[in-house]
Symmetry: C2
């Protein structure tokens, strides 16, 4: 690799040249990425060295899985996240976290080192190789919206800009493979913006037509309702959406994935819509509406509570990132951001306030000696949320129970409510708090999921973070126990509250009663210097009504026959 590409010791490049690895770091920084999560390994050590010498902060986790989930959370809050690992043994550990990022529209850049091009020729059996040198890239092609191998100095910078651009525009993960002998190759620095692709725009006439039809339907509707989903947050449309709600007064619900797309103290806020799984009054309000406007809210089986079609398409306007349908017809080339912006400014009649269903409030005072229950746990947690709390919920009862927690501002609720991978919550707290150091994570996690990745508290401790982890300890996989039970739903009970003794930092609390819970939450709030872990010991038969409703439907499917 000679010729017009220059090599030399790190940092000597003149302003006209840049090393490929350094260009990748520069471009990530330009997109707002200040932290890279990962685990080092020999095929990526040269790039790690470049990261260390840059302004980027490297956050090495216990396992690559933790890094992947942390980057996912970071991307949800920052608009882009990055995880960087070695070839094979590192990259393939990220298949699941990248699958989740794809499924839930989280723009994560997966960076993997790889064997150098030169050494592949000399020795085809290099360690960490599976089948062919391309195996890992072929895997990630299935899990990302763009991928590249930086194997050509002539195109490396353009390729970096291309895939980062796709991630930012499509809000999904991308894959960058960096052969280790390319990281230090110097190439001519591209002119700023040289590879910038114009943002795709809506077709003006299609946008106008869709807008006209939508405003007519909304104006004519007797009881319209807006449902916000995750794309509102991913595309940063919270302000435009809020303007739409405030100008029109239309009541607004959110999906589980879209929770915190609007502050829940807003007078027009209805609650979380999740079909029969969610609150009955919210379900009835949405499903009985004569005009449901779904904004950035693709609906999954979980969102619909296991029902197939509770929403009548004839009364539904479905606006997604790349697709807009009204009733049974589709508008193409109408983009979510353009549409919401136009709708917020459209001429729509303001509506009078209507009586909206309100979540049942449990303000009953603590009964110090009463055994703690799921219902009372969430009732008490509600009182401890502040404007600085980001709630991070693991799939299962941690998530379903949290659905009605009144989060205070936008972007304060993170959960994999569609892909639903266990093991997300604790590492996500690391990514979330590094993405926004003003936030303090409140992590809700089951014991089964905690046994997967909970020891990433070690990473939180190393990097000075202070999540409050509320562990719903119900002796195994309760969500599954309600569907099909067997000893495979059991896990070994750990003395979770003593984990701080292993890690040499943090505080643990054993919570058996309401009094224990209050004391622990007060102590955790007063203790900003490290993580707090509350081992909340629940009766294994005590589950939220939402979970019981969902598992009744899903359990039947688990044993169904074709």
């Amino acid at each position: 690799m000679q010729g017009r590409w220059r090599v030399g010791p790190s940092g000597t490049g003149g302003s006209g040249f840049v090393r490929i690895g350094e260009y990748l770091i520069e471009r990530l920084r330009a997109h707002g990425v200040e932290h890279v999560f990962g685990v080092p390994g020999d095929f990526v050590l040269g790039f790690y060295d470049q990261l260390e010498r840059s302004e980027m902060m490297v956050v090495n986790t216990c396992d690559e899985q933790g890094a992947g989930f942390a980057a996912d959370a970071y991307a949800r809050l920052r608009g882009l996240g990055a995880v960087c690992v070695t070839y094979g043994v590192g990259g393939l550990k990220l298949a699941n976290t990248t699958g989740q990022a794809y499924a839930e529209s989280s723009p994560v850049v997966v960076i993997s080192g790889a064997p150098g091009l030169a050494e592949r020729e000399a020795q085809p059996r290099l360690h960490h190789k599976v089948r062919v040198f391309d195996t890992q890239r072929l895997v990630f092609e299935q899990l990302t919206v763009a991928s590249t191998v930086l194997d050509d100095p002539a195109t490396a910078c353009r390729e970096i800009d291309r895939v980062l651009g796709v991630a930012v525009r499509q809000k999904r993960p991308v894959y960058v493979e960096l052969p280790r002998d390319m990281a230090l190759v110097e190439v001519p620095r591209p002119a700023p913006g040289a590879h910038q692709e114009p943002l795709p725009r809506s077709h003006p006439a299609a946008l106008a037509a869709a807008l006209a039809e939508t405003t007519a339907l909304l104006a004519a509707a007797r009881r319209p309702v807006v449902v916000l989903g995750l794309e509102v947050q991913r595309f940063g449309l919270q302000e435009k959406t809020l303007r739409l709600i405030e100008r029109t007064g239309i009541p607004v619900a959110v999906t589980l994935l879209g929770k915190s797309a609007i502050g829940e103290q807003h007078p027009r806020f209805l609650g979380v819509y999740a079909g029969r799984m969610g609150r009955e009054d919210v379900r009835a309000y949405v499903e009985d509406s004569d005009c449901v406007l779904l904004l950035g809210a693709p609906l999954s089986d979980v969102d619909l509570g296991g029902d197939a079609t509770p929403l009548d398409p004839a009364r539904t306007i479905q606006v997604e990132a790349e697709c807009l349908s009204v009733g049974h017809h589709v508008y193409e080339k109408v983009r979510l951001a353009d549409f919401i912006g136009a709708l917020a400014d459209a001429d729509l009649p303001p509506r009078d306030a209507v009586d909206l269903p309100r979540p049942p409030r449990d303000d009953a005072p603590t009964i110090p000696g009463a055994p703690i229950t799921v219902a009372r746990l969430f009732a008490r947690l509600a009182g401890f949320l502040t404007d600085e709390t980001v709630v991070i919920a693991e799939p299962g009862d941690a998530l379903f129970g949290a659905a009605d927690l009144p989060v205070r501002q936008c972007a304060e609720f993170l959960a994999p409510a569609y892909y639903a991978s266990l093991g997300f919550a604790v590492p996500a707290a690391i990514g979330a708090q590094l993405a926004d150091p003003a936030l303090r994570p409140l992590v809700l996690v089951g014991d089964g999921a905690f046994q997967m990745t909970g020891m990433e508290l070690a990473t939180a401790a190393r990097f000075g973070l202070n999540p409050i982890v509320v562990l719903l300890n119900n002796a195994g996989y309760v969500t599954e126990r309600l569907m099909v039970d067997g000893p495979f739903n059991d896990v070994l009970p750990w003395a979770y509250h003593r984990i701080p003794e292993i890690l040499g930092t943090g505080r643990g609390f054993a919570v058996e009663t309401e009094g224990d819970l209050d004391a622990a939450l007060r102590a955790a709030t007063a203790q900003p210097d490290g993580f707090c872990l509350l081992d909340v010991r629940l009766d294994p038969g005590d589950v939220s009504p939402a979970l019981r409703r969902l598992t009744a439907r899903f359990g039947a499917a688990a044993l169904a026959e074709a």
Copy 2:
């Protein structure tokens, strides 16, 4: 799905019919699989229910990664292993462990539940889905030698037999996806052996020609040597190989992956060949030989100590599972098993015993107060190996230091010495001991790797296993530290020896001195009732000579430019 397929409550099928899930279990049992590792999830719960009702034992681990590694170890000892998980969030967590099984020829059956065929039509946005319903299968096509989706009752049994047959014949992983509404469908039971494919045979004339050339070269050689690799173990050729050695008296070395292919007390045993990384006397003996016979030993960069071609092809006979080359020419259709069998019976002159290099012995008595070192750790461990010890070594100094541990019998050493994924050793101990309950695992693991999967000790405890885990605690990723250092090679120090207090069982030992080590090993040996965890606190600068040699070469590559 009606017609000739029957449905009904479990266990009602007459002998002429069998449910698809139950047939899969039957066929695994017929191949010697008695344990299935995994984590349950809703798309696979029906099959888990079938597993529980069968003779199969379900071993649920803390995380799917642990299940994948346990199944890999089980497969290496049993000839077939199985891991069973749910769709997406379970399956994709197995990409890395399956990659390792592929790279290191371990026949693991990956079984994944999946959405039912009927429900996919009703709702395309089902939870756990990444991009398309086929995404996971497309990923596993890259990581396995055969894959199938059991979406057709007419072919399901044939497909099960096909993929299991490929796994057993090719000794590599396969993928079986089971839509949940198919597990309980009853189909006509195939006649025994109906789908059995004949084992591929060698071409008789090619075999004879290869044999003639090889015997001539061996007979003429002044100082021939045999090197055994992992395929000897995978294809169960240890006895034939031993017969070859005993009949001819040719000295025999092993690769790291082939270690324990022959008992190391054998008088013709040379040691582990690993190029410049290994012992110098073994390297010299092999590389100076005038005829090197490599049996089932594909050589990687690690095996060759980072050198490209230390073995002269003109003096090398390379016999692999599906390829045999002598010097610069290749024989096709000659199979490893046939060739070794024929060679063991061939007319070769017995050789006189020659003086072979012997490993340096460190029999110095314990100095109780002396700080423990890597060298002394391995010297002391050597004395604690018994005929019932299976040594399981994690990549890094745990592995390189263990290279010269004198294992006592065949199949007593397990390590991912080629693919080299961290996190293998602790979960592998679970798989190994369940595969052969007569064995007690001695696990050698670094602190970085332990933080990935070490908490699977909880699974070992739940299933009554008693590994002795020796944790080489050197404050981070020492292998990498020797190549390129930075804070990314640090990990939070854990009080590892206190983990038994978290798990409520097992014994922990803090080992600072030689005296501590002896006492802990004696106590562990005397304590068969649960796991023992020795936190061996090493000076971070104290590494094995082998690791220092390897990282000098690999470190240069990490910072090399194209």
